[in-house]
Amino acid sequence: MDSSSLIVQFGQQLINGISLGSIYALIALGYTMIYGIIRLINFAHGDIYMVGAYAGFFATTMFKFSFIPALIFSMAAAGVIGMVIERVAYRPLRNAPKIAILITAIGVSLFLEYGGMLLVSPQPRTFPVLFESEVYNIGGMVINSQQVVILVVSLLLMVILTYVVNKTKMGKAMRAVSFDTEAAQLMGIDVDKVISFTFGIGSALAAAAGVLVGIYYNSIDPLMGIMPGLKAFVAAVLGGIGSLPGAMLGGTILGIIEALVSGFWSSTFRDAVAFAILIIILLWKPAGLLGKNIREKV
């Protein structure tokens, strides 16, 4: 392989990595917000992403929605489910030992996975094609329209999220609760409502990621959320848990590294590398890349 084709391949993997990474980033945002606000590693978050993918699937196949309505439908559905899960499974345990909530989260995760299997059958489904796939060729590197859509949608959602968190009253309340729950409560903030809202937003973002993955890989199944869920958590830790820009950065970096590892080395080691990065980050800089500098914990 000569050097110019090496550069082309590098660029190609970079493109693939960024599209994969923006999906991780969307899931990681939910993780990081939920962790920031109630200090819970919500293991069920990856399964919300699966639920979102299925909501998008049924919206397009049964209700014949086009892409944008299907995306909105799926985000709304997952948002509601996220809020219901918080209300039923996590809220009663808010003052319980942390490990009890963690076990509950594992229980919810298993429930969604196997309930999903029962409801929609364990077989993978083919996600419908929602728009014509066009392939753009830039100096030997290939970008398809799905990748462009993924990038545009995730950027848009991140901009909206940043606006909501930084400029709105609810966003202010979220930051306050995440900074100090008790003080926020004393200031008259309805903590339950804020936490519920956070779960809603986080779940909606995961659902968007689910629909985008459905479009990208064309295949969805009830267990699809396990690995991306864990990877997104790695991304959140990498960027600095509790930090929104950190989650975006962590997701993108993780996506790029994974694409490079599977492109230049071996795709079987892809997952191991992701976890190795996690451990190195934890030992070297436990607060993550952006954890300390930016105290924007939501």
Partner: protein, 322 residues
Amino acid sequence: MKLLQKTKSDIMALVACLAVYAIIQTLILTDVIGPFWQLNIVLIGINIILVVSLNLINGFTGQFSIGHAGFMAIGAYVSAVLTVKFQLPFIAAIAGGALGAGALGFAIGLPTLRLNGDYLAIATLGLGEIIRITILNISYVGGASGFMGIPRYTDFTWMFAFTVFTVFVIKNFIDSTHGRACISVRENEIAAEAMGVDTTKYKVLAFTIGAAFAGVAGSLFSHYFYIAHPASFTFMKSFDILTMVVLGGLGSISGSITAAVLLTFVSAALASYPEWRMIIYSLMLIILMLYRPQGLFGNKELSLKMLSRWTGGKKHGSTQGN
């Protein structure tokens, strides 16, 4: 006087163990317990070893590890290599598996136990996965298709002996000076440090012992099922073990044993409804946590005193039937 009492209770426990062993062994030999339940009895034993050893780390020392399946995998593979490739006797293979897992636990524990809480949890989860993926890529042990052709050496007797051994060692470790030091780390790490307890040493010690016993469980596991497969040691397995620990009660050995028996039993009883099995299991998990977040036993041990209080007073000790 105290010593005499302790010896007496030890002897009583030993007699009870032998009685349980004799009853179940007779039932197996007379074919009252069929192959399906025999398999599940062995699984119960293996799970007890795993749960009690994880409880030492999570429950007694207060460190949050969720990578136990990784150490189990090391035990399973190391022991299988020793019996299949080096024709060593089973007992030596188990020792090798325990040693391998313990050594790795030591090597991993030393740097990672600096972390605490959720960070340690995630690090151990990642390490468990790294172990599994690494095994997946070693063709010497079968790679992705698993290590096949392992002889079945594990039977009820081996399983029972090692389960009792594990519980005995860990129980006595906790009652020793070292165990007390571990508990002090759980209760308040800073205070323990101030009192002169070498917290790092005890955290690593508990982690190493826990990992070594997970290795024992792994050795028994692979020599019962003829095969060691990377898919048996995913983080879901670690979650399974963690669930049993929490369900039984962090810091309660009898709780761990009860939870291991109960959950393995439930899981086996539901085996004929595969599509409902995990749903019921997960709902049970959520409901139990909602109503009993401290686990069945909290951090108390089941004792005769507790039993007599139950039978004497309110009757709600039905989980103690077996």
